[in-house]
Each structure stands twice: as C-alpha cells, then as structure tokens.
Symmetry: none
Subunit: 421 residues, 2 copies
C-alpha cells in the first residue's frame, strides 16, 4: 500500500518552520510497512493545492494532508480536497460544541470564522481534536483515501497516535510489529558502526536508526502472518542489539522516554532527587516533572545560574569559584553535594557549562560542560564538549545529565557496567 | 520569478532525517524575493524522479535539486536531469583532480564510481565542492534552469553561500524585506479578525500570520527595487498593526523571542527576577536563561513541585494548602511573595497548575493554572484554563507566565495599558 504526504503551509514554503510533520509521519508509516514515494509541500492556494492533491490521489492509495485546517481565510485544505473528492460539507454538532467549549475555557471570544472549522464532509470520519479546534477528517474516496490533519505538531501527533496509526494498520493487510531500542550515551555513527553487519544484511526484520539529541533510537521491524510470528522474528535481533549495547539501552518501548526510564528507577528504589542546574537552567527538572507522579520523587529543583546563587543556595565555596571557575569539575562536585544538603534528598544531579560567548567574548570554551551526580554521598563527575548553538548545547547537556544520572543510579543499585562506548 | 525544490533521498522519505535543506533554501529564496510554490521529496528512483523533475521544470523558472549526487549506484539525480534536459555528460578535469585530491588528503582509496562524480553536462556551470566530492551543477535550459546541489547540509550550505545566492540574485533584481510583528496574549483567529481588512486587501506588502503556542507572529513582507523602497512600503502597515494591538506586540524583530523581550525590560530597569515554578517545573527559568547575559538578572529559579517544597522554600502556609489547595489563587500569591523573600529579588513569577489526572484520577480540573507576578510587593494573579496533553499544557503555562510577567512589568514601569484583546 502506498501513502504520500501533502504538507500545506506558506510558512514551510517561506522557510519559517522546518517540516517536522513530514519526518514524523514518514517514520510512523515506515514503521507500519507502508511505501512512501513522495512528500510535497504546497502553499495555501486553491489552484496549486488542487493540482497537487489531484496528482497524489491518482498515484497513491492514501494521501495524508497536514495544515490548512485553521479558522482563517487562507486555510483551504478541507474545502479544496472535499470539492475535489465530490463531498459536501455540513456542520458537525459535536465538533462545533467542542470548539465553543475550547474558547469558553480560555475566556476567548469566538469569531465567525471559527465556525467553518466545524464543517465536515458527508460520510467522512471525524477525528476530534483534544489539543486544538480543527478536527481531523478521513475521506474514503473510490480510488484513494484522504486523511486531513491539523498543522501544529502538538495537535497532529496526538491525533496520529489516537486515530491515524490504528486506521492505517487496519488498511495494511501485512502485519508489522516493531520494537524501538533506545540507546543513550552513544552517537549515531557509533551505533551504526556497531550494528553495520546487522543493518547491511537486514531483510526481515529491518533495522533503521534515528538520531535524536544525545540519544539514538533503533527501530527493528518484522513483517509476518501475525504478531506472534513477528515477535519471534524480532526476538533474536533485539537480543543481539541488547548484547552489543548492554545497559546503554534504556528501553525497547516506543513510548518510554529517557526521563521516564530515570523516574522509574528512582520510583522503584523509593529515592528522592534534587536538581542543581546552571547551564540547563531548569530543563532537567522540567523534563523529570513531565513524567506523571513526579511530586513524591523530586524534592526540589534549584536553578543557580549566577555564581552568587551557587554560593548562597548550594554552598559552593568562593575559593572554588575563584580558583577553578564556575565551569569546572570542582564546582559541579560542590553543586551536587550542596543540592543534597539543601533538600535532604537521596540523589542530586548538577550541571554547569558554557552555552555561549563569555563576558570577554571568548568562544573557545563554548560547549564545555561538567555534570556531577551524587548518589547518597557517592559523587561522579564527567566532562563533556557539546557543539551547536546555545539551545542545542543546553538540550545536549540536559540529555547527558539524565543519561549520567541513570548510569550512576544503575551502577549504585545494581552491578551493571557500561563497557560499550 | 518562481523557484522550487526537489529534495532527493530515501532517508527523507523514511523519516530518518528531517528535511532541513528545504527550510534553508526556502528561507534564502524568500529573502531574495523569489516565489516558491512547491517543495517535493522523492526517492532515488529514475522513473519517479524523472516524472517529478519534468513537472517542476515545466511550471517553474528555476528548479533546485538537493541530494542524489553521490558516487553510488542509486545516486541518479545528475544522470536523470541531464537526460531530461538533453545534455551530454563529459568529465570535468578540474572536478576529477579535486576528487582525487580529496581522497588522497584523507588517505582513502578511490573507487571507479567516484569518477562518475566528475561528469558534468556540456555547457553546464560547475560549482566546485570544498567540503565533499560531488560538484554542484547549474544547467540553463531553454524554459527553465536546473541547479543540482549535494545533499549533506555541510556541503549544500557553503555551496549556496559561495555560488547559488549570487546566481539567483542576478536572475531576480527584486528585493523582499519583511518584518515580523510578534503578539502575545491573543489567539490566531482573534488576530485574524482584527487584521481581516488589511489581510483581505493585501498586495504589497503581504501579511501572513503564524500561530505559536500562546503567541501569534504576523509577517509583513514588501517587494521592491531595493531595501529602502521595501522599508518605505512596510512602515505604514506595521504602524497600523501596532496601533491595533498596542502593548501586546512585544517585538517587530524576527530574531527577538518573548523571553528576550522580557529580559530586555528587566535589564533596562536593572531589575532582578526569581521564578517559583510548580506545573512548569523549570521551563520558565530555562527559557529566560536561554537569553545571553541572564546571570545578572535571574537571582534564583525554584522548582517546588510538591506541597512540602512549596511550604519549605516559599513559605506557603499549610493552612492555605489545606483550605484552597496548591492550585489556587491564594497559593500562587504566596509563592510569588515567598520567591522574593527567598531570593531578595525585585520581581517573582509563580506558576501553579494541574497538568494531568490528580491522585484520585479526576480529570475535570486538568489545565487549570494560576500565575502570580510580584513586582516589588505588588502582586497580580490570573486564572487560566489550558488544554492538550501534559507537555502542551505546561508549554502554554510557561508562555502565559512570560506574557503576564511582561505585562506586569510594563504596567508598573510605564503607563501602558492592554485594552486590546
């Protein structure tokens, strides 16, 4: 079965935003074993959208549209596709109720053009939007099916997970089961080198690597008669990958994030944690708190960006700052000790680093970061050199902090070692 | 003049990589005042590549290809496009010398198929590649021009800067200048309604709105002979938008974020800030710290997620928590007061809310958030109702906190009011 994407939006054509929706949908479709031969981006223009949609609906079984479902004048995707597929638009009561509630909740005033978002094609499947106003729509034409999704990733991704994934799976007869082996603390080229022989000889299951910041996900996908057969095909391959990366693998569950894996260890061991952040300025605490049930585990998050705050709230010695500077192994160590003293927690992770040019404008140390983890008095410090812009360096540092925190917890709580990489 | 992009690569179709080349080229072309109506991604397949290239060369003046210039069997872009445009391939001596040198330098061994990278079309303009082996090529056909560029951004971007930008500028004398009017605290449809008359009658400058979480950006773009003329065209339109949204506009500079605008106000007034975060768990501090030079302004960031932490570090009264709960106007107020007492800062922003199901599993209050801003003892509290998943609610809350912080600062420091919206 072939599927293709049409992403609608002038902001993509103007380069205002990167088309991450296409990458997300492409990865998911690959995981479902669907053949995707084209991605197209077109602006909010009836003629060009019509021409593009026509060609796509002719050559593919399923065409997935993203964007252009908004309330404004230039949002035309729904109107154009429905006209093309000969479907009349009628108001969906539930969708309209939902939109009204959405606005009331925010104390925002409804405008007439919001009402057009509640219009859906006759016979279409409505995908209600929990994260925005525009509902998604599935239109089943004679030759091809069209799936219309809202443009904002915060709306598209949950809608995909709730409706689209399942709908596509049902359409595709072949059963595909995949496991996502998530590896922290190893770069993509490293992972590819270690898996090269497996990747080169892959047929079924297939192996694909996806590089994230500070994390590499390896998707192993098996095609078979039923789930049982797929699992059987997956088992030896996943086992082999586990053998090669050991404890650096933090999950094989697509839905488990690094922060979830860390919180699980803390939770299972009834341990509390404190964060002491400088360069990451709260990103590590924020990521941990995004995991439900964090309040029993996270005793305190301290953001101590200035030297003064490091001294006052974490008890970092003035002499340490004078002698070694705030971005040093010594400072990180004292921060990690001070965090536990301040909050009486079992564990503390401390991060200090340089995200941009320093006061004197020197750029040579940008990216230098020290992360210290204190597990019940046992402190481990590691030096890192990250690259990229300010935001990327900070993102890398927060992922590295979670990675080191996890490793230290496992090393202290189990006999796991991290020989690989 | 119209230009479009064809990005060639199975790794994009599989979602292994995000198509950042398209975003880069799109932004550059927009800056040159070129009309870009399509972006297409197609795999390394002769038939589909030929079909796509044919359509693009028919409808656009310039078609820019990226990827598929490598040495391997499945790199077919050059061969396919040249055949389509009726150009013979001959070896370019300089390109071949360059490739040989590139390999010698790295002690790599040349393979026969590297030689195919030195083949260029007769009469084509060769763009020598300083960062890789594949040269770029410009083919000037009768109807359209084709520009072939290597896929790796590390090769494409420098080649663009060295050759392509200048080549395109010569083709198109018109210049495009745009200003980004960024508005906080108003929804997209609200902004659309207020600007409807301007948008409906837009020709030059054009007006486009981009919805972000808790923020709407309005891009006003003028086309003219030179920058001076464009600025002149922009001025009255931007002035009119400013008139309609008043102080809700936090910048007209594309590169200024909401957090930067807030930090600027604090900096100009030599004020220090403390963050007291529960639901956002450090996101607000993190966003402020992403602005360079934050260390003089941010005294302390406190992440107090549990009730115990709210009492211990912010002095929230137990009776307040018992009587009103942690997610209440009263608690937010006490947090905002406690933050200033704890850090002796001039300003404190406090955020408390419900991002997910509570202990008893009840979901009815999810999204309810109270944000309090304390400016030198003067406290303002506001109630919000956000929805979406856990991450989206927290993101909305952090943007709302920065928005309220900015408004309170302006209201206390100037006579600005926020009648609009």
């Amino acid at each position: 079965m072939t599927v293709e994407f049409i992403c609608v939006g002038t902001e993509i054509l103007m380069g205002n935003i990167v088309n991450t929706n296409a990458a997300f949908m492409a990865e998911r479709c690959a995981g479902l074993g669907l053949d995707c031969f084209y991605q197209t981006v077109v602006g909010d223009n009836v003629e060009r959208l019509k021409e593009t949609a026509e060609a796509s609906l002719r050559r593919s079984d399923v065409v997935i549209f993203s964007g252009g479902l908004g309330p404004t004048e230039d949002d035309l995707t729904k109107e154009t596709v429905c006209k093309l597929m000969g479907k009349k638009l009628t108001e969906d009561e539930k969708a309209w109720k939902h939109i009204k509630k959405f606005f009331e909740k925010r104390g925002l005033e409804l405008t007439d053009n919001n009402r057009k978002q509640a219009l859906v094609p006759e016979g279409g499947i409505v995908l209600y939007n929990k994260n925005g106003t525009a509902p998604g729509i599935i239109i089943e034409g004679e030759n091809a099916k069209a799936i219309l999704l809202p443009g904002p990733p915060g709306e598209l991704i949950p809608m995909w997970n709730e409706y689209v994934e399942e709908y596509l799976r049902k359409l595709n007869p072949a059963v595909l089961v995949s496991e996502m082996v998530k590896i922290c603390g190893a770069g993509e080229s490293k992972v590819e080198t270690v898996l090269k022989d497996l990747i080169d000889t892959q047929t079924n299951p297939t192996i694909a690597t996806y590089a994230k910041i500070g994390e590499v996900d390896v998707r192993v996908t098996a095609k078979g008669e039923d789930e049982k057969e797929c699992r059987k095909l997956l088992k030896p391959v996943v086992k082999e990958i586990k053998k090669r990366f050991g404890a650096r693998i933090f999950t094989t569950d697509e839905n488990v994030s690094l922060e979830m894996a860390v919180m699980q260890i803390l939770n299972e061991n009834k341990m509390t944690v404190t964060t002491a952040e400088s360069i990451t300025g709260g990103m590590v605490a924020s990521r941990l708190i995004n995991v439900p049930g964090a309040s029993d585990i996270i005793k305190l998050g301290l953001v101590t960006y200035s030297n003064k705050a490091k001294r006052k709230y974490l008890g970092v010695k003035r002499s340490t700052l004078d002698k070694y500077g705030a971005v040093s192994e010594q400072c990180a160590k004292e921060m990690a000790k001070g965090g536990i003293s301040a909050a009486k927690s079992d564990v503390c992770v401390a991060i200090t680093g340089i995200a941009g040019p320093s006061g004197d404008g020197s750029t040579d140390r940008i990216g230098l970061t020290y992360i210290a983890v204190n597990v019940m008095g046992k402190v481990k410090v590691k030096e890192y050199h990250f690259d990229g812009n300010r935001a990327k360096i900070r993102e890398s540092a927060s992922t590295a902090a979670l990675t080191l925190l996890r490793h230290c917890l496992l090393e202290n709580l189990t006999e796991k070692t991290f020989s690989t990489g």
